[in-house]
């Protein structure tokens, strides 16, 4: 072989080896690349796994930290006890509360260490039972600290079970409630004390009310007689002017006394909170008119003008009789007190009562009442206490008479009605008292109601008899003076009168005999007025008996009593206002009262000297004598004496004696007693 050929062969050999090496290198590189890729992927996978795992661990760690913090730092004590009921772990708060550190508690039963001999046995037993039963429980326990201090804790214990339901441990949370318990006990004690005091106060209030009721009755009874007899005497024509004038003084004084008593009792009642409003529907203008009329003469005595003005809302048709729903006695009292007060403090000028309807909608109106005077005015420093009881402006010589209660009563009544009594005053111009109240309002065409009718007629004349047949009256009262008063009042008018001392006596009499009218007091022994009327109504035969109650004013009755009062046919307040009694009797018995003529000359002209114009013709002599006796016509009586001597010789002696001594009323009484009044026509 040539050199060249040898070398070519060698070259070929080398080349082949080289190519093979390159190919191996390539495949090795590829393999390496694959491996690297795989390796990278694995690395990423691992990293992701690690990240996840780390996060999970972190979360778990955070949770553990959280729980650990919670349990460690909480103010409440946490004790964990294991299956043998001994302490496995307790937190710092436990040490703080109990005084024992963890080492002193570990391995011991909590109750044994923490409780003392004062700990309630029942509670202990309860807890032991629950622990044994592995049930959760709550309890309040008295424990003893390491230092021997007693304290109360509230335990809330819960058992913890593993996944297979096996008991692992109890977790008990304790909070120190020593202070709460002390507070609770203190609170209970205070509540008991408050209740006791409230009871006592209620007791005292009841006593006060009872006292008021008794005093009211006690004070009114004698006053009843005074006023009643004064009224009767005032009708006696035989008295001379001096006596009449004296009677008027007595009448005024007793009236004043009555109002003072009423004021005192009212204010006491208002302050005790026992005054209640009883609204009724009445005509407003009627009340205003009657109040003005009542006080006109008082104002006139000082030369003062007294006027009223009522301005209804423009929404109401004109000229209607406007009615309001309110306690008329309260409204009347307020206005009387305010106007009366103004009269007292005004020496010249005028007093005006202005009532204005400020708003009107949906059958309700805002009414503004204002009493304005041109009086002395009230100094600014006195205004503050003006409405307090017993405050009196002006000390010394200028002292104005009064109980000092009027404004206070008015103030409270206005407040009770939902308003606020205000005053504006200047020492130069005078004062203005005003208040605004909201009341239901409507109007009607009806005439004014009976009550005001009675008021209007308060100045009316005293009747001297009645038309028709003789009526019988049973007077029931346990107080002799009250019986006498009514007897003296009614007998001369021609009523047949019988008396009973109490309800039971009255009932017996009514069963035995029918009376046209029963006038009954309410408070009586053995059987009171309410019981009497109940018995009457219950008995079919007696149910129709006409019975009027004579009692303390309606304002002073309890709602229960007011209800019972409805069983009566009528009601007259004590002290008895005779015209009220006569008005009620007129209504119930359909009586036609006979009044004396006001002018003697008129009398004479009308009847031609025959006597009373109302006397029906054909009356017998005794009737005539009776009438003349009643009206005090001595002349006629004297003229009739000869006839009497002829017709009724038995009576003549006595009657003549009376006529001679100028006592016509007594003649009438005598004749009335003997004949039982005017005979039937």
């Amino acid at each position: 072989m040539s050199e060249a050929e040898k070398w070519k062969k060698r070259y070929e050999r080398e080349k082949k080896a080289r190519l093979e090496a390159e190919s191996l290198l390539e495949s090795k590189s590829r393999a390496l690349y694959q491996k690297k890729m795989e390796s990278d992927r694995l690395v990423l996978e691992q990293e992701a796994l690690i990240e996840n795992r780390t996060r999970e661990l972190q979360q778990a760690s955070d949770e553990v930290q959280l729980l650990s913090d919670a349990v460690s730092r909480t103010q409440n004590g946490v004790i964990i006890s294991g299956p043998d009921n001994t302490v496995v772990w307790a937190n710092e708060a436990t040490t703080r509360i109990t005084g024992y550190c963890l080492d002193e508690l570990k391995g011991k039963v909590p109750g044994h260490v923490l409780q003392g001999k004062e700990t309630d046995e029942a509670t202990r037993t309860y807890m032991r039972q629950k622990i044994q039963a592995r049930e959760s429980f709550e309890a309040e326990v008295l424990n003893v600290s390491k230092k021997g201090r007693e304290y109360w804790i509230h335990i809330s214990a819960t058992p913890v079970f593993d996944d297979s339901g096996r008991f692992k441990y109890f977790v008990a949370i304790q909070s120190d409630i020593t202070r709460e318990r002390a507070t609770r006990e203190r609170l209970e004690f205070e509540i008991e004390r408050a209740n006791l005091m409230a009871e006592r106060a209620a007791e005292a209030s009841t006593q006060k009310t009872k006292f008021l009721a008794t005093m009211s009755h006690e004070l009114r009874t004698p006053l009843n007689s005074v006023i009643g007899y004064t009224q009767i005497l005032e009708q006696n024509n035989t008295l001379d002017e001096a006596a009449m004038s004296q009677l008027r003084v007595i009448r005024r004084s007793s009236g004043h006394l009555l109002s003072l008593i009423n004021d005192v009792l009212d204010v006491a009642k208002i302050e005790a909170g026992s005054h209640k409003l009883s609204p009724s529907r009445f005509e407003l203008e009627g009340l205003l008119k009657s109040v003005i009329e009542m006080l006109r003469s008082k104002a006139g005595e000082k030369g003062l003008k007294l006027n009223y003005q009522f301005i209804p809302s423009g929404d109401i048709p004109e000229h209607k009789r406007i009615k309001i729903l309110a306690d008329s006695r309260a409204v009347r009292q307020v206005l009387i007190n305010l106007i009366g007060n103004s009269i007292k403090f005004t020496d010249q000028g005028a007093i005006s009562l202005d009532v204005k309807m400020l708003e009107y909608a949906d059958a309700e109106a805002k009414l503004q009442f204002a009493v304005t005077d041109t009086g002395r005015g009230i100094p600014k420093d006195k205004i503050k206490n003006l409405f307090e009881p017993f405050t009196q402006v002006d000390e010394g010589r200028d002292l104005v008479q009064g109980s000092g209660l009027g404004l206070s009563i008015a103030y409270h009544l206005v407040q009770q009605m939902g308003g606020q009594l205000e005053v504006q005053s200047s020492l130069t111009y005078g004062s203005c008292f005003s208040f605004v109240i909201s009341l239901p309002v409507d109007w009607s065409e009806e005439t004014m109601d009976a009550e005001l009718l009675a008021d209007q007629n308060s100045q009316a004349r005293f009747p001297i008899g009645y038309a028709g047949r003789k009526r019988s009256v049973l007077i029931v009262d346990d107080v002799a003076e009250n019986q006498d008063l009514l007897f003296d009042l009614l007998l001369p008018l021609g009523f047949e009168i019988e008396l009973a001392g109490n309800g039971r006596e009255a009932l017996d009499r009514i069963r035995a005999k029918t009376y046209d009218l029963v006038l009954s007091d309410v408070i009586m022994p053995f059987m009171n007025g309410y019981e009497l009327v109940e018995h009457l109504r219950a008995d079919k035969a007696l149910a129709g008996t006409c019975i009027i109650a004579i009692s303390a004013s309606l304002m002073q009755l309890t709602p229960q009593e007011k209800n019972q009062m409805k069983r009566f046919d009528g009601f007259v307040a004590k002290p008895v206002e005779v015209d009220e009694l006569f008005g009620t009797m007129q209504q119930l018995l359909q009586l036609e009262w006979i009044f004396p003529a006001t002018d003697a000359a008129e009398q004479a002209a009308d009847t031609g000297g025959a006597g009373v114009a109302a006397l029906p013709a054909g009356q017998n002599l005794l009737d005539q004598l009776y009438w003349w006796g009643r009206i005090g016509d001595i002349k006629q009586l004297r003229q009739a004496m000869p006839r009497l001597e002829k017709d009724e010789p038995e009576l003549f002696a006595e009657v003549n004696a009376l006529v001679k001594s100028d006592k016509p009323q007594q003649v009438a009484e005598l004749i009335g007693k003997s004949t039982g009044g005017v005979s039937n026509v």
Partner: protein, 178 residues
């Protein structure tokens, strides 16, 4: 067998006997690879045997002697090329102890498909070292050559003997002389 065994062999043949002899033995042996060996390749171990046979015939030197000579030559080459792996070995004893456990493990990492012989070095009580050589190629002569190469490299004087073992292994006994 790893290519580098062949390339080093041919290098030695080239150095000692020239390229013509290289050509000849390749030609005469008729090896399938055609003698185109690359160090990083893998070729059948039988080709080395064939080449050795051809060389014995060509240069009239018995195979054991050829292998021993090759072993020495190979050792120097290996120790130079794998200096990283063997740098901690201060003497042949260290190297031989590390051979199976450390050196060949590292070699296996580099050449996963390398079929390396198993060596087991045992220090005897008398201070001599026994090397158990186990290989299915039975290259004991090459192994001896490598050992002698090692001794020469570390400048050691030894007494080397060998004997066959029951399981087909060969046991070399190395007595180190001062």
């Amino acid at each position: 067998m790893k290519g580098m065994v062949f390339t080093f062999f041919l290098e030695l043949v080239e150095n000692k006997f020239g390229l013509d002899v290289v050509d000849t033995i390749i030609e005469r042996s008729g090896v399938a690879s055609g003698g185109a060996y690359t160090a990083v390749g893998t070729y059948p171990h039988s080709e080395l045997v064939d080449l050795l046979l051809a060389l014995e015939q060509e240069v009239a030197i018995p195979i054991p002697a050829l292998l021993e000579a090759y072993g020495k030559f190979l050792f120097d080459k290996l120790i130079g090329g794998f200096s990283e792996i063997t740098k901690d070995c201060q003497c042949s004893r260290d190297l031989l102890h590390d051979l199976d456990g450390v050196i060949h493990v590292e070699v296996q990492k580099l050449y996963p498909d390398a079929q390396l012989p198993r060596f087991n070095a045992v220090d005897l009580a008398d201070g001599s070292l026994e090397m158990h050589y186990l290989s299915d190629r039975h290259m004991e002569d090459l192994a001896e050559g490598l050992l002698r190469g090692a001794f020469a490299h570390f400048k050691e004087t030894v007494e080397l003997t060998r004997r066959p073992a029951a399981d087909g292994a060969v046991i070399f006994n190395i007595r180190y002389l001062p």
